[in-house]
């Protein structure tokens, strides 16, 4: 037996078997009870939010050129807006789809059997991630069409092409945001052997960003850039520090991105000085390209975060021993 003189590279493509895994996982997701529950939950809240939003908008139909976008963001008192519902439920949906991706295979003793097939681990992880993302994309698209249809019925005004383009970009941002939570769920599913621990850990991360990060960012900003009552610039510095810290959270990134995309009147996502407003026509909408440019850093941030989390899950999974 002699040492092989060929290169140290692995043979074949890491994508071998990817589609087999993808379709199997997707079928699992779509037929699972878990998914049913989520679908009903999201559907009910979406219809409720849109209905309530449309009720308020009816009175002001003729005044607004971006009616469809208003449907997404309008809230009527007891009910939050459609967008708020989405940003609340989608992380949970992503966690529900991903928290037992890898540890589930361990616990069912199927992992060694699957990995003994001619595929790389890459294919398994990618397949599971893409299947989760595709499932959510499917729900989102259905939900989106439902909302557009409902708003047509309730309001009777067809959306303009720019509105549709903005709405589609909003979908993309939402998908990227959900990807982040799917990535977090994937990491916890590799990290923790027990599915319950993994779900709990992922939900803890979600709670941390949804509830506590705002407070922590404030404390951090105060510590980094203390407010000095005799120095007006210190206030600006503190605001900027606060913004920088809160942008570490995917929730902030998502909120800012959809703010820019769904509200053409928004011109800046940070503090604006009076001097910068010179010559600006306040309230006039930005063209789509400019709004997109405004949301671009947030969008890339979300996508980069998703890729980063996937990379972490990938490295952890490659190093995992197959046997329990």
């Amino acid at each position: 037996m002699q040492r092989s003189s060929t290169s140290r590279r692995r043979e074949g493509s890491p994508w071998t078997g990817l589609w087999a895994v993808f379709f199997k996982e997707m079928a699992d997701h779509l037929s699972s009870t878990r998914m049913r529950i989520l679908e009903v939950l999201i559907l009910l809240s979406a219809v409720g939010a849109v209905y309530a939003g449309a009720q308020t908008l009816r009175q002001t139909i003729s005044e607004d050129p971006f009616l469809l976008l208003r449907v997404f963001t309008a809230a009527q008192d007891p009910l939050p807006s459609f967008v708020a519902f989405l940003s609340f439920f989608l992380p949970l949906a992503a966690i529900a789809l991903g928290f037992d991706a890898i540890n589930g295979e361990y616990n069912r003793n199927t992992l060694s059997r699957i990995l003994a097939q001619p595929i790389y681990r890459d294919a398994l992880l990618w397949g599971k991630f893409l299947a989760g993302l595709a499932t959510i994309a499917l729900i989102l698209l259905a939900l989106f069409l439902l909302v557009v249809g409902l708003s047509l019925i309730f309001l009777g005004v067809p959306p303009s092409s720019e509105e549709v383009a903005r709405a589609l970009l909003f979908l993309l941002a939402t998908l990227a945001y959900t990807g982040v939570w799917l990535g977090i769920a994937l990491v916890t599913s590799v990290l923790f052997r027990s599915a319950a621990t993994s779900a709990l850990a992922a939900i803890a991360v979600w709670l941390f960003f949804a509830l506590f990060w705002g407070i922590i960012a404030q404390l951090l900003a105060q510590a980094v850039a203390p407010f000095d009552p005799f120095d007006p610039e210190s206030e600006l510095r503190q605001t900027e520090a606060l913004l920088a810290f809160s942008r570490l959270s995917p929730n902030t990134l998502y909120a800012e991105a959809i703010q820019a995309l769904l509200n053409p009147g928004v011109r800046s996502l940070g503090p604006v000085l009076i001097s910068q407003l010179e010559g600006a026509l306040l309230g006039s909408p930005l063209p789509l390209g400019q709004s997109f440019l405004l949301a671009w850093p947030q969008l890339t941030g979300l996508i980069a975060l998703t890729i980063g989390l996937f990379a972490v899950a990938y490295v952890l999974f490659q190093r995992r021993e197959v046997r329990a």
Partner: protein, 309 residues
Amino acid sequence: MVIETQGLTKRYGRVVAVEGLELRIEAGEVYGLLGPNGSGKTTTILMLLGLTEPSAGQVRVLGLDPVREPLSLKRQVGYLPDSVGFYGEMTAWENLSYIARLNGLPPALAKARMERVLERMGLAEVAHRPVGAFSRGMRQRLGLAEVLLKEPKVVILDEPTLGLDPEAAQEFLKMIQSLKSEGITVLLSSHLLHQVQAICDRVGLFHKGRLVLEGRVEELAQRVLGGAYRIRLEATPLQGLAERLQALPEVSRVQAEAQGLRLEATQDIRPQVARAVLEAGAALQSLVLEQPSLDEVYARYFQEVRHAA
């Protein structure tokens, strides 16, 4: 040579799981990797399949390096893990068809093969039932069906009879034996030495990560137990018999047991023993030539190792 390892070693931190393993398995052999739990059998198997990376040493399976060429290797090697699991909510058919797709089998070929292997494993009738309701024996057979799906050249089975009742275990072992007649090389691991010794052409005994004994079962018995012929007798009264039998030239050892005596001899000397017992004036109740058992080989070997230490 189908499976070949050189100085194969696996360390987990400071714990050595497998050390300096030299394994050579020929085509068409049934080789038993035997030893107690935690002696390194599963780790060895995982290294052969490229599912875990060796710390040192070399592996070739069908001439392929499991770490660098895992895809072509796993296309030809079937593996049945020790605690085989399936997707419980899917049917046997769906579970198999997932594996067929992972192997890249074209649908028509996959269907034909799935029908064949399910039929062969006696699972054709339950093919469309969810695996969650399957018994341990049925799961094990489904596992073997899955292994055969890719028409492998080598089959690696980890503890194939674990958790099966004796009848199901025998049946399963027969199925494994039938693979040999198709020219498939079989490597199986087990801690139930007596169960698998009948179907193994050669066995390797593991102890604390090392392959300590290797060879055909009879050879090992000969080597370790000294005399390969073991005779057990029952007679009354027993007094004085042991000394008398010890005096026979072929007898190497006499051991008293609850009911009778156990002799080790270099030949089958049952007639001489019977005569000796009768000459001593005792009544002979039974006289049996025992088949050497691997358990005994194993136990005795380590007894001697401990004594020597």
